[in-house]
Symmetry: C2
Subunit: 247 residues, 2 copies
């Protein structure tokens, strides 16, 4: 399993991904699921993936090695996309290419072609955007009303985002809330695990502000987990007990 | 969809169920999903259901109308069960009877026979127990290590239970935490909705202590939602922003 979240606020974009993959509970491994394609001044595109590891790796390989453009005969890559919309379309096209090669064989083995990607970033001349690309290659976009998108095991970590994230949230508060959401997910689903990869991008900077790996034992993340846990305990203790029956 | 939770603590048992059913988003209705079978001094058995409404209603009808005992020819009902273990087995048997009648036809219509029940309570001479009965009629039991069981849309409301519920939790704190868990679920899944039905049973009382419906606009529940929301806001605001990048 996997949990990745992208948060698009007024100040910029936060992307966080866990790194655990598993094929059964006795076959777990660490794989990077957050890839950043960056050429300062030109583009920063962060790609997070969930689902079948062979398929998501093939998609990442395809968008970097390139897909032939049927009209021009040239190679299209993530670096040649002129806009974020085109970049999302291109990731969708790569997913379809991988499906055309592997999809039927996977289905014959009762394995599903279940891949989802978050594609967020900015290309010079365009605006900062965040998309979620489905296995069919189609995609949706985060907006001011719904400023975050999640892929993988999304439910455990959703309540805190639903309550706390808005378009006007400070960029590093968004990062903090994304980490709280990750913590909730990792506590409830063993197949989502440390370390965490994260990227922070400030709108119009055209260079990433922060690319960081949060390792096991990271003092800030450990402190965040402790504080959040204590605060939740204090929060429910501060609520009076139900008066029902004493009415 | 549905969300029901049963919490078994040292002092007793809490059962909470929402009441929303839906067949598509344009066909929602209110149905009681928490049924309490009570004869003071003899037994209190609370049954909460999730899944296909026709199937869960049929199971409830069967366990009250009775199933013929193949050996004696007599009618077995939920009232004739000598122990909670037998009661859970009996609910399992009723599920299998309903599956035998409806299961194949449902599958022919691409509808699934997806039912789950919580069965909690106490029968004179036995101890307080809480079971989750699956569609196959088999079941698991809550223990001191894992003092709560959930059915239906369980993920959104699980993190708070994971963090806060223990076997030693006060009975009305357990009720309060169950309501917080319900609130988180209703915020994130529209198909779980008010009113809520709840039961509180104190161990060895052999009579329910509280059976209550929390209606829309209930002042305590409204206050709990407000306090919880404010406390979560305060909790994440009190955590320092990530220092990453300033190391």
């Amino acid at each position: 399993m996997t949990y990745c979240v992208g948060i698009l606020v007024d100040e910029g974009l936060v992307m966080i991904a866990d790194t655990r993959t598993n094929a059964g509970v006795d076959n777990i491994a660490t794989y990077k699921k957050l890839h950043v394609f960056e050429k300062p001044g030109d583009r920063v595109i962060a790609l997070a993936s969930a689902g079948n590891l062979a398929a998501t790796q093939a998609v990442v390989s395809l968008i970097t090695e390139g897909i032939e453009d049927a009209e021009t005969g040239g190679l299209e890559t993530i670096w040649t996309q002129p806009s974020m919309f085109k970049a999302a379309q291109f990731v969708g096209r790569a997913i379809r290419e991988v499906y055309n090669v592997d999809g039927r064989s996977l289905e014959q083995q009762q394995a599903s072609f279940d891949v989802t990607f978050l594609v967020g970033g900015q290309i010079a001349g365009g605006r900062l955007r965040l998309f979620m690309v489905y296995a069919a290659g189609n995609f949706i976009e985060a907006t001011a009303d719904t400023p975050y998108l999640q892929i993988g095991e999304h439910k455990y970590g959703k309540p805190i985002l639903d309550r706390a994230i808005g378009h006007e949230t400070d960029l590093y508060d968004a990062l903090k809330l994304g980490l709280v959401s990750m913590d909730s997910t990792m506590r409830s689903n063993l197949s989502v695990g440390m370390p965490l990869d994260l990227m922070v991008y400030r709108r119009d900077a055209l260079a990433s502000e922060l690319i960081h790996r949060v390792d096991v034992g990271d003092p800030y993340f450990h402190d965040l987990q402790d504080r959040w846990s204590s605060a939740l305990q204090a929060a429910h203790k501060a609520i009076p007990r139900p008066p029902y029956g004493n009415d």
